[in-house]
Symmetry: none
Subunit: 193 residues, 4 copies
Amino acid sequence: MNKRQIQKQFTRDKILDSAKQIFIEKGIINSATLQIAEKAGIAHGTLFLHFPNKDALVIGLLDIELLKFSDEIKQLIIETDEIDKLLNQYLNLIKKEEGFFSSLAREMPSYKSELRRKILFRESLIREHFHQVIEKGIRKGIYASVDIPSVLTFLFGTINYYLSLKSSFVHSGSVIEKFHDQTIEIFMKILKK
Amino acid sequence: MNKRQIQKQFTRDKILDSAKQIFIEKGIINSATLQIAEKAGIAHGTLFLHFPNKDALVIGLLDIELLKFSDEIKQLIIETDEIDKLLNQYLNLIKKEEGFFSSLAREMPSYKSELRRKILFRESLIREHFHQVIEKGIRKGIYASVDIPSVLTFLFGTINYYLSLKSSFVHSGSVIEKFHDQTIEIFMKILKK
Amino acid sequence: MNKRQIQKQFTRDKILDSAKQIFIEKGIINSATLQIAEKAGIAHGTLFLHFPNKDALVIGLLDIELLKFSDEIKQLIIETDEIDKLLNQYLNLIKKEEGFFSSLAREMPSYKSELRRKILFRESLIREHFHQVIEKGIRKGIYASVDIPSVLTFLFGTINYYLSLKSSFVHSGSVIEKFHDQTIEIFMKILKK
Amino acid sequence: MNKRQIQKQFTRDKILDSAKQIFIEKGIINSATLQIAEKAGIAHGTLFLHFPNKDALVIGLLDIELLKFSDEIKQLIIETDEIDKLLNQYLNLIKKEEGFFSSLAREMPSYKSELRRKILFRESLIREHFHQVIEKGIRKGIYASVDIPSVLTFLFGTINYYLSLKSSFVHSGSVIEKFHDQTIEIFMKILKK
DNA sequence: GATGAATGAGTGTTCATTCAT
DNA sequence: TATGAATGAACACTCATTCAT
């Protein structure tokens, strides 16, 4: 990469960084592209040079974050096939970026369908990992033979609920941490033979 | 109530009615006060005579709806002390106003905190009813001695998740209906001894 | 009309007045709604209270101007059935609002088709008047039996050409006046038996 | 020309080619310099190396096109001194590049005065050719002794009118072709003794 | 109490032009 | 000579709220 390309990437990263911070703070819908540009220290128009429109910026940011996340999950899968350990690690991962995922959960229902589809697709990849682990457990006779999709919707629905209402559940600190143990406990109960 | 007060109440009700319809249709954030006033057949300014600002209108509407809802739940409680029948009735009640509750679930996370607190307070009343029934069941030895708040958060979180992403789960028709049976089934499993 | 309605009409008129002046000066495409509002001494948003969008403002202005014009033409028709006198009066009418018609002719080709159709419809009404007078003349044996539509396109095309390139034909003053006599002369020659 | 100059000319030509195509397609005002550069396969900034600004590019393009056109007309003059044949050929020439001339006629009135003057100057060269032929015809006693400039304004104005409102006169195909015969017919009538 | 005209800050997006590389 | 990232003013349009009538 020559100097120009480095500079361009740097600007792009600055935009994504600012966007992430502002999205966490105010939610995507209430964040103005002007404010993001100002925080990134660039001209308003420059933002649209890197992303053709606001939606593309959101999608760009999500792609990076969710891909990163998905990769880390994949790593976890390889390391363990016990669902409680996997769930434990999964919650820890979310906790690390809780601000971002909280704003995501909060606003996802308001997003335009393309954006929402993109997010749900990423989530479905993660669900898939969980699905496989549970399926294996059922085959091994460790878990009860539940309807896996229903059970996972229950789990992800609850986590989503915590995240989306984070500010109502905790004044500061992590919601995920607060409900960490009980979430695992209840989920294991559902799987118990 | 004298004639003037009756007239005032009538106008207020018209506003609330229109607001409800429009909120369901377009979501609270995308509903303009002008449109609500037009649908109510009153002047734009009149709306602000009855509600100091848009938020107050939303709160006013919720107060009525959730109170009504809460009353119906109370009635159910009296009629039964079996949690599966109660949950069944509860889901049926939501289904009746699914449009409203879906738009509520979808947008609640974006509301200002006072508004959200109000909604969650109303929800907590309903939770309380469930809490009592489960507690009684545990005392009677019918249900396992679970941590009731956690278990209820799991339940309400999941229902909320269905409602908020309704349009991703079903193209038309009711999400609640679609997930009705499995929701009860899983929830009962959690309570099983 | 009560005071409010008078005030509203007054504001609307101020907007139309400012728009007309600015359109003449800079052309419709290069006129900003903000500038029109400023010239009218009202808030930018107020403009959109009276006209839902810029196009509607243009159409509103045209409707008034062309209707006024069409009415005056109709009056002329009644007064005379000699085409040279009619054409003479017609050119004088255009001359009175030459600034406006010049900017119209200049930019019409760039307008969105709905707007253009509207303008051409108004023009067609005027053509119709001319058509009738010429037809009568042919029947009476005063004029040669020409193809009236072609001949009128020739006439209106030329007038349009003068108007649209006004600033190239005259530095100040009226183009219509400058070409008044020769336009009539040539047109009469076309009609001559 | 050394190698560098050849390369420069080559780039310049590529820009002019792209500009012409895009101008025809979208009109000058709606054509972005970025798009022209992309079509030419050069960097955006390079365009401004060859032409100091967008106007200069337009003028440069016109110079070439109108000069080419003027040369072809000159050739026609040599071949014939009958005005109807000349006009016939002239209309055929326009028809060949009708897209370009239509977009020119449509937008010329919106151009800055320098640009417009340039175009009109080129047109005046063509007018000059017509002038000479008509003059000769009058001297020979073939045509009536009309005021040649007026008569030519009538002609060119009408052709311009067809071109500028092309899309209102024909849905597809050529306007010039459509009005070809009647234009010649009427014009000849004006010249008839 | 009711009206509705007016406000004005705010939004996402475009594009000719500049200049460091 | 050529590049292309960056600029920033400009644009049409929205909407909760105010206040004279």
